[in-house]
């Protein structure tokens, strides 16, 4: 039926219109990250080589207002907290500690307190002990109705240092 063809092409044009009205939008917002407690252990990492590896534990707070990111072309955001640091054996390490999906319509005011990391913070070796500079950043993947899925890093980060010895918690 040529009626369906006409409807389909108009619908496609509208979807393109939805895309083009948001294609060049800056999707970055300021994020506030605070760390309350860190601790490390030295354990057997069953996924890696035989030597014991450092396992970090971080308790943190995140607050951010995600409202400006959402528009008529955003279906959901995939948030993830990354820890970035360098060690003697590896110049750059990036570990995802925690993630969250925020759907359109959900509460966009993020105000999380005393969150424990969701995923194991293993180092490839023993580079966490006494490491003075671990940087935590919050990033997100924007899932649109139509268009590109950009990875955006929030502005605002938190640097933390791990304690000198194992099994000793350090509070901030």
């Amino acid at each position: 039926m040529c009626t369906n063809r006409h409807y389909n092409s108009v619908m496609a044009a509208l979807t393109f219109g939805c895309f083009i009205t948001t294609a060049f939008k800056d999707r970055s917002i300021p994020v506030d990250i605070h760390v309350s407690k860190v601790m490390i252990k030295n354990v057997d990492d069953f996924t890696g080589p035989r030597e014991r590896s450092d396992l970090g534990f971080v308790t943190f707070d995140i607050s951010a207002n995600l409202q400006p990111i959402f528009d008529w072309n955003v279906k959901e955001l995939f948030l993830y907290l990354t820890a970035e640091y360098s060690t003697k054996s590896n110049a750059l390490n990036q570990v995802v500690l925690w993630d969250k999906i925020v759907l359109r319509g959900d509460n966009t005011k993020l105000n999380l307190r005393d969150v424990k990391s969701k995923y194991f913070f293993f180092d490839d070796g023993n580079g966490l002990r006494s490491n003075k500079n671990i940087t935590l950043t919050l990033s997100w993947n924007v899932v649109p109705n139509a268009g590109i899925l950009p990875l955006v890093m929030g502005s605002g980060h938190k640097s933390l240092a791990f304690p000198e010895s194992y099994e000793t918690a350090k509070s901030y």
Binding site: C2, T3, H6, Y7, V10, M11, A13, L14, G17, C18, T21, F70, D71, W72, N73, N145
Partner: protein
């Protein structure tokens, strides 16, 4: 009652078909413009889709059934030629070839 049912017309004439097509396309385009502007205003693309679906439903109702307005230009057929008995009447050639597939 069945004869009344059978006498419901189920056709449009050519000009009626053209009119139906124009009405359908026009309603869809108007719905698209309204839907786009409203969706952009409230920042929800879902509403653009809803308005388009509403426009589709309305235009289907207006253009799919053969309403009387689509039968306003009937074809002008030639008047029937009275049938002369036995003259120039061609019996249809019956095709004797029958292909048998085994």
């Amino acid at each position: 009652m069945l004869s009344a049912f059978k006498s419901i017309p189920t056709y449009m004439d050519y000009k009626g078909q053209k009119l139906a097509e124009q009405i359908f396309q026009g309603i869809i385009l108007v719905s698209a413009v309204i839907g786009f502007i409203y969706g952009l205003f409230i920042q929800q693309f879902g509403w653009t889709v809803y308005i388009m679906l509403a426009g589709f439903t309305v235009s289907c109702f207006l253009t799919l059934p053969p309403w009387p307005m689509y039968r306003k230009n009937p074809l002008k057929w030639q008047p029937a030629v009275p049938e002369a008995s036995g003259e120039n009447r061609d019996k249809p050639q019956e095709n004797q070839k029958k292909k048998k597939h085994k």
